[in-house]
Subunit: 297 residues, 2 copies
Amino acid sequence: MDRGEYSNHLEETIKLVNERLAKFRAKYNDDNAPYQQSCPDAMWYSLSAGGKRIRPVLLMEFCRIFGGSAEKALDSACAIEMIHTFSLIHDDLPCMDDDDYRRGKPSCHKQFGEAQALLAGDALECLAFEIIAADENVSFEQRVKLIQELSREVGVCGMIGGQIIDTCCTDEYSDERLLKMYALKTSALIEAACVMGCICAEAYDKIPFAREYACALGLAFQITDDILDITLTSEVLGKPIGSDADLGKQTYAAVHGVEAAAKKAEELTQAALDIAESFPDNEFIVYLTNDLLGRKF
Amino acid sequence: MDRGEYSNHLEETIKLVNERLAKFRAKYNDDNAPYQQSCPDAMWYSLSAGGKRIRPVLLMEFCRIFGGSAEKALDSACAIEMIHTFSLIHDDLPCMDDDDYRRGKPSCHKQFGEAQALLAGDALECLAFEIIAADENVSFEQRVKLIQELSREVGVCGMIGGQIIDTCCTDEYSDERLLKMYALKTSALIEAACVMGCICAEAYDKIPFAREYACALGLAFQITDDILDITLTSEVLGKPIGSDADLGKQTYAAVHGVEAAAKKAEELTQAALDIAESFPDNEFIVYLTNDLLGRKF
C-alpha cells in the first residue's frame, strides 16, 4: 500500500460512515413530528461539522483486518462518532470549557441555544446505544458486548471520568493525575473504537492487543494536541511557546516543554507501531498511526 | 390484597431497588480512583434524594405478574431510575428550568456545581445502559430488547423529545402539541418501565397491553401533576387557583381549569384500570394506579 492507496482507503471509509450517518438522520427526520425538529437539527449540525472521524475509521479498520465485513462495523462506527460528538457539544457549554467556536463554526449552543445543545448531547448519547441495539448485522451477543464496551469507556471509569478530573479544580499537579486524565478523557473512546472493531469481527482474542495499541495511540494523540495548542497559539497570537504553562494550564507540553512532549509522543507512537506490527494486513493502520503523530492541526 | 398488604409490597419493592442501587454505588466507589469521586457523589446524591420510585416499581411489578422473578427485573429497575434521575438533574440546570431545589434539597448543580451536575447526568444516562448490558440474569436477546426499548423511549422520539418541545418557545398553543409533549416527556419512560417488565419476564405478547396501560397512566400522572402545581401553589403562596394560566404557563390544568383537568385525569385513570383488569394477579397495580391519581404531592 502506498500513500495514495492509503489516502483513498481513508477517504472511502469516511465516506461510508458519513453516508450511514446521513441515513440515520433521514430516518430521524421521518420518525419525528415537526415539534421536535430543532434538536435533530442541532445533533446533525455538530455531527456533520467536519470531524476527522478517527474513532469510526479505527473501528472499521480493526473489524476489517480481523476478518469482519464493513457492514458489521458501520452502525457501531456511527454510534462511536455520536458519542464523540455528544462529548464535544457538552464540553463546549458555558459551564464547561465555554467555547464559542468548534472547527471554525459557532459551537452547538451558540447556534441553537444552551437548552437545545444540552438536549442534543443527551440525545446523541442515547442514540448511540439505540443504534447498536438495533443493528441486525451482528448477533445479540455481539450487540451486548459492544454496548458493554462502549458504555464502560464512556462512563465514570472512562471518558466522562476524564472530564470530571479535568473540571475538578486542584492546586497540586502530578504527572500521574494528568496521565490518568488523558487516559480517560482521550484514550478511553479510542480504546472502545479498536475493541469494538474486534467485537464486530468476533475476534475476541485480539482485544487485549487492540487495547494496548489504543492506549498508546490515545496518549500520543493527546500529547500531540497539547503541543499543537502551544505552537498554533504561538503562530496565531504571537505568544511565546510554552506560555500556557505560565497561565497555570496543566498540559503535558506546558509542564514539560514542547521538546520533551514531542519526544514522549514519539515514544508512545513507536509503542503503538510495535503492537500494530503483529496485526495482519496492517499497512493502513501504520500509515494512520504515523499521520496522527505528524498532524499539523 | 388489602391496603396494608399493598403498602407492604410497595415498601418491600422500593427497599429491594434501593439496596441494589446501593450495591452499584459501592461497586463504583471501588472501581474509581479518588480523582473522580466528586461525580459519583453527585450521581448518588440525586439518586438517593427520596423519589417515589414509580418507574422501577412498575417495572418490577410487570415482571412479577407475568411470571418473572424479581432478580430478572432488579438491574433494569435500577437502570430506569438512573435515567429518570439523569433527566431531573439536567432539567434543573440553569439553561433548562433553573430550579434551585428538588424534593426539598438543593438541586444537584446547587450542591456540586454545574459542571459536575452536567457530568453526573451524562454518567447516569450511560450507566443505565452499562448495567443492563452486564445483567447476567437475563439472556443476550433480552438485554438487547431492554436496551432498544429504553433507548427509544429516552431519545428524540421519547423523553428527550418531550423536553425539546417543552423548551422550544412557541406562541401558539394547541391541545395536540401539549398532549404530545406529555406523552413524550412523562408517559414514554413509564411506558419503557412497563414494557421492560414484560421483557424481563419474556412475556412479549403482553407488551401491547403494557404500552396501552402506561400511556393512559402517564398522561393521568402528568395532568395530576399540573393540578397539584396549581393547588399547592395556591395553598403555599396564596395565589388564586388557575393563575398560572395568566402567566402563560401552558399546562392542561392551567388552560382548561382544575375541574376539567381532574375529570380528564379520572377518565385516563379509568382507562388504565380497564386495561389492568385483564392482567393476572393485578390487585397491586390497581391500588397503585388509584393511588397515583389520588396523590396529594
